[in-house]
Amino acid sequence: MTRIIALALAVTLGGIAQASDYDKVDPARAEEIRAMLTEQGYDVRRVKSEDGMYEAYAMKNGQRMEIYVNDDLEIVRTEIDD
């Protein structure tokens, strides 16, 4: 029993440690994406990495949007959260 609990604890704590960096983006890169989207009228809240792309959370025209950007700083897809 103690071993099971210790193992579960180790797995969970490992998960927390990992969860805090897995979606981090290089700050200079994030700044470029932020500037590019801001120019297009987005109010950018956050840039993170998701599914091998960059994902920006932003507001535009009162809508909550997720904008997926590729390595060439092209917008691949935008999603509206409704």
């Binding site: 029993m1 099971i4 609990i5 579960a8 604890l9 969970t12 998960g15 927390i16 969860a19 805090s20 950018v44 809240r45 956050r46 920006a56 959370y57 932003a58 507001m59 009162g62 909550r64 959260d81």
Partner: protein
């Protein structure tokens, strides 16, 4: 062996549906999906109903009946430490603390998750971090809860998981029952 009808149907349905929905959202469902959000609303509704039931429900469901005093808690710890075997018919004092912990944590998870869907907190990192930290806390609590239930079942000879399914506790004759 004496049998005692303890858990009403709502308490049991609440327990297992909360366990299932939390596990689904924490471990299986894609957290970007609408299903994740709707499971969250269902959890909030369930916990809301449980709180109402804790005020108006039958005796063993009522918070006033199982909210422990500090001395209740130390008594149970003493039971465990000194191998003094006594059984509680309703929630044990430590079990009750875990219930309050889990109910409050679930509400805080639902609230922070809802915030992530609002204009004001859309994409705001600390909200997501709070949401995730609370989920981790809940997962650790669930592990502790399951371990404690197994341990207490073994210690008292009362099959607690079974009681949460059937509603009935079967108490061995060689153990003293305290309220």
């Amino acid at each position: 062996m004496t049998t005692h009808k303890i858990w009403d149907p709502f308490v049991r349905v609440f327990h297992w549906s909360l366990a299932g929905l939390f596990a689904a959202n924490a471990l299986i469902v894609d957290d970007d999906s609408w299903i994740h959000e709707w499971i969250g609303y269902a959890v909030a509704a369930l916990v809301g109903l449980r709180i109402l039931w804790g005020v108006i429900g039958p005796r063993h469901a009522r918070f006033a009946a199982f909210a422990p005093t500090p001395s209740d808690v130390t008594e149970q710890i003493t039971d465990i430490a000194t191998r003094r075997r006594r059984a509680h018919l309703g929630h044990t004092p430590l079990g009750a603390l875990m219930i309050f912990n889990l109910l409050l944590t679930m509400l805080a998870i639902c609230a922070s998750g809802y915030m992530m869907t609002t204009d004001a907190f859309w994409g705001v990192e600390w909200v997501e971090e709070v949401h995730e930290a609370l989920v981790t806390w809940a997962e650790l609590s669930v592990i502790a809860h399951i371990a404690a239930v197994l341990y207490e079942s073994h210690r008292t000879g009362i099959n607690l998981p079974r009681a949460m399914v059937t509603g009935t506790k079967r108490v061995p004759d060689d153990i003293r029952v305290v309220e």
